[in-house]
Symmetry: D2
Subunit: 397 residues, 4 copies
């Protein structure tokens, strides 16, 4: 149980309680830590801490560790407090003394910051790519059904006529809004590595060269104020999830619309058999679980967002350990968005429109407002025309 | 209890329950409704529904109603279902038949949408102006204290030296992030008026000219798909609050920092007497309630955001009345942000820095990491230097 | 702007920001404050602070103030910080010197605590009475429709047969659960008056007699530890709302069920016209807004609960002003529950069951599981029977 | 990818998306499923579906599966949809035809309900035991420090004197409240097994004997209405978490108090070295991460609670798949409470009180209210005495 900083054993329950599920999450993020560690090591070489041989030795060791990272990440043994300590320990084991130089001019704080930022940049890109694919699918499918009439509902009651393409394109339009609204990527594009424990290396003899690591890692600029770096832990996670949240709302609304319209009482739309599931006791069942999980995942996402926002709401300036707990909800929430957009896209691509059922559902009451319009076009005031049509409907009942 | 649509009396409890606190909120928003009503009426004139005299009659009536709107709005009598119905009723009362033409080619749905959008655009601008003022204050105050040392804390324990300007500027930097990150204003800048009840006026003889109202109201573009308009109710409110939320987190963090640093045990900073409050029984008290309310308002804001997000998570496409309940939390949350930014600015402008207390707090342990740096500069590996300094500290205890 | 504690003017913006909407909420609670103030004054008399004449003078003044409290409470002038200060000021104005003795041995902290506790006890009783009325209505209506068949759905698809009374009674059963589950009333039944500012009057010459006020106010016991009293501010509010929350979930589920079953595609149930609302442009509409607001109010309640929970999550021991902000969400959330239960009851009492439509909806697929049961009764294993029926259904398609 | 109900392959992405992390959670719950399966099988025997040999065969197979359950549960292979299907498949594999009878008269719905209920009953008991241990620790430690003075704070400022035992006992008193307030255990104590898919086995030839399984599993009563059973999925989870939530609030408040009081500026209390952690770069650090994680876990818990409440808020009557997503947050939230109470207890047992520092902190301003009391005891009115002491303090500045 001896720690990197440790001259004493930490109580095993304290150790277990404070680490929680962090090692599993770190395992997923290790490739980003190694990427940043490599940049940091390159910087240490450039400022003369590691000579050319030491540098090459350490970089090779990092490469070995990277190879061990599969997509699921590599397991971090229980005796380490976190992935960061594990990496240092491994580098010391492989390289000896040069490994002991690696953690100079950084702290686990900026190490976590840069790791999470690289992760966020990557997954936001991946999500955006999927959103663009979805936009294309929505527009392809809607153009295929242009002008197909279906009832429009308000208050869950038949309101006015609409069309399948209007319905489907409304989601595409909202995706445009979301992509337009936010620019959190520009915020993420600043390098926190070198901010150390949140106070930089002010007044110290040797200082990190943050421009060097920015260049290696592809950051546009340095995040200069180290307290600003520290403050962005949790806050940026919150901002990223805020940007992604509307996707989950829309996916849930898409799912809810389809859950309604696939009911036997409507059968406006359907999905192929392989998208549905059955029941363990009811042989006739054909369920749209996929939409239910999509709808439920909106709540799961929101709860994760709530976790992060609850934690950052309690903090004062300067790193505090509760921030560690923002890692899991952040990673899981991002992954849920990615999976949900992909699944949404599949349901769009496989959506079957049942035209005859929609046609049958176009009952006369949907045209009452049009009838009012007719009367106005013949000279009535709107309100009088409205009352007149209302009276006619009443008499017909 | 007779309604605009009404041929029967609504049960009084149903009426009271469904309206709730909506009339009070509508009263605050009436000036935006009147602004949009005026644009709508101008459009009705342009498409020939109102002739020149009728148009002038109705516009004058709108002006009269506008004059009745003070900053707090005007009271809407209880017998009306909402402000929209009240406006129509007043216009009919004042103008007679031309008033009965006013609601043609619109619905209370698009009327509410455009009213809220105009409100949101306005208050976002006002908030942004206040944020810029705050940015300036932070930078003025921080430059006044450049280089003044104070302890930096991590885990609530003394960590490393920092300076007053680093602390204060970290907030200014985060404000830059927030302003950079979001672009929800561009999303709001589309005109939903003319989308009617969420299905437009498809297939009807007379249609609204949305370009006309866009021009009058200053919208950059028309929000074309009427189901997209309907979908944006609640969703845009959520997106706006998401953009504003980080301000509340930062304000709360500023408040928490100051609540700590104004404690007798620190006294690093203070505010003038007129910013503090006293106790009803403890004559010695001088409390920083202003920071506590600032901190608490972050939670109030988040709860309002939760209300909106809870409601939109349940909906299917097409307007549903629960969306009415998003109005109050939206308006109140926006107002809280505005008031909080203004108050934050006042606390910055009046912040007193207690330099001697900060100096006294600069204990030697803050320099331990610097000492490690010194040893590294003399050739030690970082990890060995760290252990050596740790050992020295231990021996001194 | 001079305060009760005040030797200086508080900045007007600080004053406005810290008070917020508190005066409006206090106005609703003043009768409870006056009730407790009367008990406190009686105690002050019993320990010799107020003589018999002073006591009678002050009690009369309290009566006068009580008369001014209508159900909506009486307005508290803006220059007071809160209702508590206003009461003291009024009593001094009416009674002179005896009024200046009233605030002895209490603080605004325990004054607020006891006021809110009395409010909570009252409204919980009122809610419980309404829940019992609702239970009776559910059971009356369900017994009226015993054995009326209707389709049971899972995953929004027809699953198995059920009956109207099973559906309606499931809500009654859940109400029994909620009433059984919680006992927060017993927690509330302890008197915090006398805990002063959260530290009692330890070591002071004259102390409050908490047994006296408990007896007058009808509390079962004294809440002895003053820090425990202080800690219960916000916490008890959270606990009360936790107890009430399931009512809102059930009301929302009742509303959602009915919103679905009143759709034209089902028409299983309906409400009389006076429970429905119309549209400003669609003359044919008949909307169930009442259910939509019921469903939406679940989210409003949850958001208020979130506000309180966010605030108490940030605190350390000892009163802090953010706790003031828990008052509004608490009062509003309780009122929403009361109004919602009443409205739910009205919808139950007026529910019309459309038997023919339900009968028509009893399609053969609902009996597939029964068919499996038949095969098992003839000796098949369950899984084999299931597969056999599934095969038959498939062939019939 | 073939399912228990399956005559076709489910799309692999749909399969992965709908299952999500459910198998890992089910693995933790398998022992409870097996316990209920055993009771169900015993009932099937009693109603004649399984003869004595078949029954003994299946019970033995269940025992084998139980042995495979370690505390962490056993892994469920990916090709199964859930633990329930896996159990049936294993029983069929081991027992042949008798295994195919096991799922008769139940559904995965009531199987999940009873499994989760048994889990909840167990962990609530375990939590309550730990709470009682904590209560004892708090009372032991507080009695050890009875009468030790420390400053009481309000608004983060010194307010009035208090004592260490008052502080510590306030937490013990609040634990009494929480245990008193709730009775959700009584709600859980009803057997949902036999409710099938939420509509029972109404009108079918063979019916489950729910009294039998109740007796075997130790439930006090049968949960009769099958729609009530179905409704309780998610709802009871929400009710259980509501009961537990105050524990997390208190733990967080305990943590926050201690984070403040362990700051160098106070040093009122401390924990032994093995409860603290160090820094990777600052050799002097000794951090109370354990309190920070305790504080953060309140937010994690609340977020999980939010996930469940978000999901149940969207449902109509009848099982829907999103309810599956309530399992993970429920199990994790319960486990967090258990771990947190245990850790809290450890910090209490190891708490060191620094009496001299507390004594030094007892500054004169803490006694100002006592001075007012003195003046009142000499005949002054309270408000006049207050003003007089305030004046004196002012003059001394």
């Amino acid at each position: 149980m001896k720690k990197i900083w440790g001259d004493y054993e930490v109580d095993s329950h304290v150790n277990e309680y404070t680490i929680g599920q962090d090692l599993q999450i770190d395992a997923k993020l290790m490739n980003y830590d190694l990427m940043a560690t490599s940049a940091h090591v390159s910087m240490l070489h450039s400022v003369g801490i590691l000579d050319i041989e030491e540098h090459s030795l350490v970089q090779n060791a990092i490469k070995i560790l990277k190879l061990r990272c599969s997509k699921q990440g590599f397991a971090i043994p229980n005796k380490y407090e976190d992935g960061h300590s594990y990496i240092e320990a491994e580098l010391i084991k492989i390289c000896g003394d040069p490994g002991k130089k690696v953690h100079f001019l950084r702290s686990r704080n900026d190490q976590a910051l840069v790791m999470l930022r690289l992760f966020a940049i990557d997954i936001l890109k991946e999500i955006d790519t999927q959103v663009q694919i979805l936009q294309k699918s929505l527009s392809t499918v809607s153009s295929r059904h242009r002008g197909t009439h279906m009832p429009g509902y308000t208050h869950m009651q038949k309101a006015m006529p609409t069309t399948v393409d209007t319905w489907i394109e409304s989601f595409a339009d909202a995706l445009v809004d979301i992509r337009l609204s936010s620019n959190v990527e520009a915020v993420l594009d600043q390098n926190p590595l070198g901010s150390g424990a949140g106070y930089g290396f002010v007044g110290q003899k040797i200082k990190p060269d943050q421009k060097h690591t920015s260049k290696v890692l592809g950051f546009k600029r340095v995040q200069k104020n180290p307290m600003h770096c520290s403050m962005s832990r949790g806050l940026y996670e919150s901002m990223v999830l805020s940007q992604l949240y509307p996707y989950m709302v829309l996916a849930s609304q898409w799912a809810s619309d389809n859950l309604l319209f696939t009911m036997e009482e409507f059968e406006f739309v359907s999905l192929p058999d392989e998208f549905t599931t059955g029941s363990s006791i009811m042989p006739q069942k054909r369920n749209y679980d996929v939409y239910e999980i999509m709808r439920g995942n909106q709540s799961i996402f929101w709860g994760y967002s709530t976790q992060i926002n609850g934690i950052i709401a309690k903090r004062t300036s300067g790193y505090q350990r509760d921030l560690q707990l923002t890692k899991k909800p952040f990673v899981e929430a991002c992954e849920i968005v990615l999976a949900t957009i992909k699944m949404w896209d599949k349901t769009v691509k496989n959506l079957k429109i049942n035209k005859p059922n929609m046609k049958n559902a176009m009952s006369p009451n949907l045209y009452a407002t049009g009838n009012v319009n007719d009367l106005v076009s013949e000279g009535a005031t709107f309100r009088d025309a409205y009352i007149q049509i209302k009276q006619t409907i009443k008499e017909q009942l």
